[in-house]
Symmetry: C2
Subunit: 203 residues, 2 copies
Amino acid sequence: MTDVTTEHGPRRDRVAERRAATRREIIDAAWILAQDKGLAEFTLRDLADAIGLRAPSLYTHFASKDAIYDAMFAQGWADFVEVSLAWLPELPEQPRASLKVAARVFFDFAVENPVRYQLMHQRVIPGFAPSPESYAPSLRMQEIARHIFENLGTTDPADLDIWTALVSGMAHQQIANDLGGTRWSDQLDRVMDMFADGIGLPH
Amino acid sequence: MTDVTTEHGPRRDRVAERRAATRREIIDAAWILAQDKGLAEFTLRDLADAIGLRAPSLYTHFASKDAIYDAMFAQGWADFVEVSLAWLPELPEQPRASLKVAARVFFDFAVENPVRYQLMHQRVIPGFAPSPESYAPSLRMQEIARHIFENLGTTDPADLDIWTALVSGMAHQQIANDLGGTRWSDQLDRVMDMFADGIGLPH
DNA sequence: GTCTATACTGTGATAGAC
DNA sequence: GTCTATCACAGTATAGAC
């Protein structure tokens, strides 16, 4: 609380590292169980079993099951920010092509892991709402998207609203009605052309 | 099971009517509680209390809580079919205008009752999946949509897929990010124009 | 400071009396 | 057909062993 961190240096880090490692172990196991049994279906006893702990011991690391969801939510968005930033330099100069690549990055990230998509975009967990801290990476992502659109020469914020609705709408349909297929995936570029024409982007 | 219904006529109907009335009473109360406390948050004890029954008595009318969701799901889609059929004769001759009205009908129905939208389009209830019978009105709706698109002169089934993704995507964003506002509602006609241009509909 | 044993509360669901 | 009583199992709280 006071000057604990400087008391005697190296010891402290080991403890913190072990704690962080256990937290990560819990979250990793939670993702696997969520994909396996469903996001809301796995129990804390399942989760504890998966990493060789007793259920109450989880409370040493997380205040509640919702706190675990919260960490997963934050991680999902952080991963998406990371993927997006990695793609940023790769975006084509040509605005229309750039739009298509950006849409594909979003779409693929969503379809690649439907459970993660559920947690990030739907309110699937009864009573769960992300904390402000966990919501932060999501806001960060909006900034990145806004940046991409500025580079496109677009100034109307409504354009970004529409783009978000279209791409997430396509991803949602793909996940809900043709998981593993390409029924909507195949149409994504067409939709992007419609959008590009609509906001007056040059060919 | 055998010839019970014909045993002595009038008596039988009264019983059936009372049963149907109670079922309706349960479902109506469930919708109110769902809007009030959340779709998954209301308990069977809440529901029973609301209509002056004990929780176990609900099992006389529904086999499980999921069976209640199932009936709500079916009713939601049946209502949407009804609303759509009522609009069908009112659709403008002009294809583009017709598209916009149809989109508005879908969008307004979704936004008007977010909880119903959740149940109909998202998998918000852990473990709940609609029964084939309850899913039927949803298929009926697809038929109606296909009929509308045929009247537009559209033959490519992918066009309807895209249209569905766009309109539901817009509705989802409106519900999730600006409930009660018009941020996406105001852009719906623009999106429909983009779509109409994209599939080559005349002005 | 980490984990275990035990127990509490609220949930959907069932059994049997009336 | 509705009741009372009760079940199994969920998330969660706490006391104490090491």
